[in-house]
């Protein structure tokens, strides 16, 4: 998994790239969580993530819940078809902020 972060005002946009599985979840959290903890609105762009398993879904849930705790938002953007299918299988499409 690779990533790129850009910041503009209070918005941190994080582009993740590759496959998100148990092997990379800690790295994903290290990239995402500090921005949420800093109170930034996080835009998580998943257009280049073609595979995500239950561990990756857990990172999305944790990020969403952390965002609520910190009174900010985590918006998941440009989800690939294959990852959207997994999000829907987990019945999270109404819970997570998807754009």
């Amino acid at each position: 998994m690779s990533y790129k972060v850009t910041e503009e005002g209070n918005i941190a946009t994080i582009h993740l790239d590759g496959e998100i599985d148990m092997d990379v979840t800690e790295k994903a959290k290290e990239v995402i969580f500090p921005h949420i903890d800093a109170g930034k609105e996080v835009h998580l762009n998943l257009s280049n993530v073609q595979y995500m398993d239950s561990s990756g879904i857990s990172v999305l849930i944790e990020s969403h819940q952390k965002g609520l705790e910190k009174n900010t938002k985590v918006i998941i953007k440009d989800v690939s078809k294959s990852v959207l299918k997994v999000i829907m299988m987990a019945k999270l499409e109404q819970i997570l902020n998807l754009e």
């Binding site: 595979y51 398993d53 239950s54 561990s55 857990s58 849930i61 299918k85 987990a90 019945k91």
Partner: protein, 143 residues
């Protein structure tokens, strides 16, 4: 159910029991499903189910602490359009009664892997592990 008659085929491969093997498990599955000419959407689902089962071996049967050379084996067989994926490992014996996913409406991190496996596959069955193996999981799907 698929209208394609998939050829009979069996392949198996051993992997080290650790999280960095999961991408190799997926790659092995994708190669076999390519040979079986399984259509993309179903292939994605099957790869997810298999990777989740392999992840459960790493995470639960070995509690993320397998010895460096510990192996798990994944065998994919297709016979008469019935796909069977068998997993063999030497981790802590699994009690099938304790293998449960979380309530799907109780949104929290974790507990989804088993749910995905059950959603995707027709049958999920723990069989008696024959020596040298301890756990023997079989996932079945009619193609």
């Amino acid at each position: 159910m698929s209208e394609i008659a998939h050829q009979d085929h069996t392949e198996k491969k051993a992997f080290l029991v650790n999280s960095s093997s999961l991408k190799d498990v997926r790659s092995f599955c994708r190669d076999v499903f390519e040979k079986l000419q399984i259509q993309q959407d179903l292939k994605d689902e099957l790869v997810l189910a298999i990777a989740e089962a392999a992840q459960n071996i790493v995470k639960h049967a070995f509690k993320n602490a397998a010895k460096p050379n510990e192996l798990m084996v994944v065998q994919i067989s297709c016979e008469n359009n019935k796909l069977q994926i068998a997993f063999y490992d030497r981790g802590t014996p699994v009690d099938p009664k304790k293998v449960k996913h979380r309530e799907i409406d109780n949104v929290k991190p974790g507990g989804l892997g088993t749910f995905f496996i059950q959603e995707i596959m027709d049958v999920v069955e723990f069989k008696d592990g024959k020596k040298p193996w301890i756990n023997h999981l079989v996932l079945t799907k009619q193609l």
